[in-house]
Amino acid sequence: MQCLFYTAAGFDKEDAMPEIIAIHSFRGGTGKSNTTANLACLLARQGRRVGIVDTDIQSPGIHVLFNLDPKDAPHTLNDFLWGKCDIGSAVYDVSRVLGAGKKDNLFLIPSSIRTGDIARVLHYGYDINLLKEGYQKAIEQFALDYLFIDTHPGLNEETLMSIAIADTLLILLRPDQQDYQGTAVTVEVSRQLDVPRMFLIVNKVPAALAGDALAAKVTAAYNCEVAGVLPHADEMMALGSSGLFCLAHPDAALGRALEDILRRITA
């Protein structure tokens, strides 16, 4: 009995259970896609096999960060949800962003950017069991260690699904009164969905404010662990989604803060 327990809990770190990490924020513009992409990239660079799903069906965008031209991605998450393809054919290897010749450890499942596709999914909706099955299959087929889910802001039905599926939920907020109230609602709703592990990430913090004092305040306000406080980075703004920050500026304060977050959430 004890033996079984150890196996199931992933006693050996190398054989750890694959983990689904959803990244959410109540409002848009918190830097969700950028943070997701950077965290995924850093993990992939550590040799982990990482997948990213863009479930922001209403306003997909993360494919831009990985230079994935929609023309080169005939199948998307939308197609899978309508049963037009299996999940495997909507998975694209984007490892080349890690460096020339790199392949086979960073994958992206994009959403369709065609407005017709978007309207259709939003109109008919989809089932959480189908989504969960799709993730499971993708994880198995591509032997993923981590699957990141980039979500649509707010608390619509699709977003709630992503939260419900996640093993770990990262909620992004900015140090802005506009974000505080909605984040409080998100945290509470996620608790009710029994998300196993939940962290807050404070993003776009003026460099002077970024520190333990702010983290302590946020922790106290939400009664939820803060995985990191990310300083606002001019370099990130300068990149303007034309690339990945962690690759362009590996030594910047923001890059180090991202690595600290990874250490916490994968601990």
């Binding site: 959480i128 069991n129 969960k132 608390l155 039905e157 709630l160 699904m161 419900a164 599926i165 140090p175 009164q177 505080y180 109230q181 409080a184 609602v185 509470e188 709703v189 009710q192 969905l193 029994d194 196993p196 002077a208 404010l209 520190g211 004092a213 702010l214 305040k217 946020v218 306000a221």
Partner: protein
């Protein structure tokens, strides 16, 4: 890094051979009226061996080198054994200071200690030789040996070491070129050039008289003593001067370090900022700058303190219940529970 006994012995004996040979070469150039004590640049060898390799290497170079030199010059290896000890001490004492205390010279203080150890070692070596002579050998006579043996021995060793050892240490990169060491080296150099030039000019002018009138010799040595005293006084004055410039810089560096670590109280800078000169101005500007940084730090701290995360708990509860009490949410929660269990 401690050199092994073998390395010390090898270095000591190698330097000793060179030293012994040089003893015989340079004795061609004799000091007027001091026929046995000669101009001895080679005394820098045991001193440098003591500092660069090990005190014992200095001891061996001085002792064995002097013995070897005496042996090949025909004086006999053991006749003046007290001078072997004297030369050994001259290599050993600077080694104790330079090897044990100051690995690499970087400040005026360290340079001063080193130079004084060379003068002190020369004095101690000659004193030991004289004492041993009085006790066992009985060759020296007093007071006549004083100007003819004892004083020239001390003067030549001290001056030669004082001039040459820093050059050797510079070449061996044992002097870090800081503002302090550069300045003291420059001033010492100027001091030496002026004193040696004066002494040389006087010697040249009275050379004929020195050779023919022995009465002049004592005057000459008085001049030599005055020169050496001037050299030492000038050196000490130079140390004081250099430290007047470099100490404030050290204070400024400490202050900058304190600010870097977030400490804006700079009591150590008060002395410098009171100065009327350029360094005083720099210190005052630095104090103002630190004050401004402190102010800005305080403002930021206040901003963090003032940052309030206001959550309307009533509205939060209302929004949450609007979501969780829907049929969709209940169903979702149930499905999530199910696949979490599997």
């Amino acid at each position: 890094m401690n050199p092994g006994a073998k390395k010390i012995l090898l270095a000591g004996l190698t330097f000793a051979v060179v030293y012994g040979l040089l003893n015989n070469v340079s004795s061609i150039f004799l000091l007027p009226s001091a026929p046995i004590i000669s101009l001895r640049p080679q005394i820098a060898l045991p001193m440098a061996a003591g500092i660069l390799v090990h005190p014992l290497a200095g001891l061996i170079t001085g002792f064995a080198g002097n013995m070897f030199g005496d042996a090949i010059s025909g004086l006999g290896a053991f006749q003046f054994w007290n001078w072997h000890i004297a030369n050994g001490l001259m290599g050993w004492i600077p080694g104790l200071v330079g090897y044990g205390g100051i690995r690499r010279i970087g400040t005026v203080r360290e340079f001063g200690i080193l130079q004084m150890s060379l003068v002190g070692a020369s004095a101690a070596g000659v004193a030991a030789a004289v004492a041993l002579d009085v006790l066992f050998i009985h060759l020296l006579t007093f007071p006549s040996s004083f100007p003819s043996w004892i004083l020239p021995a001390f003067l030549t060793d001290a001056v030669n070491g004082f001039i040459l050892v820093p050059v050797i240490l510079l070449l061996a990169r044992r002097i870090r070129l800081t503002l302090e060491t550069r300045t003291i080296l420059m001033i010492t150099g100027l001091l030496l050039v002026s004193i040696l030039a004066t002494a040389g000019a006087i010697t040249w002018a009275v050379l004929d008289d020195l050779v023919s009138h022995s009465a002049m010799v004592e005057n000459f040595y008085i001049a030599a003593i005055v020169s050496v005293l001037l050299l030492i006084a000038g050196f000490i004055a130079a140390i004081i001067f250099v430290r007047k410039v470099t100490d404030p810089l050290a204070s400024l560096a400490h202050a900058a370090q304190a600010v870097e670590q977030g400490n804006y109280d700079l009591p150590g800078l008060a002395g410098v900022s009171a100065r009327a000169d350029e360094l005083g101005r720099l210190a005052r500007i630095f104090e103002q700058m630190a004050g401004k940084v402190r102010e800005r730090e305080k403002t930021l701290q206040r901003q963090v303190d003032e940052l309030k995360i206001i959550i309307d708990r009533e509205k939060q509860a209302q929004d949450v219940s609007e979501i969780v009490e829907t049929e969709y949410f209940r169903a979702l929660k149930e499905k999530a529970r199910k696949f979490r269990e599997t």
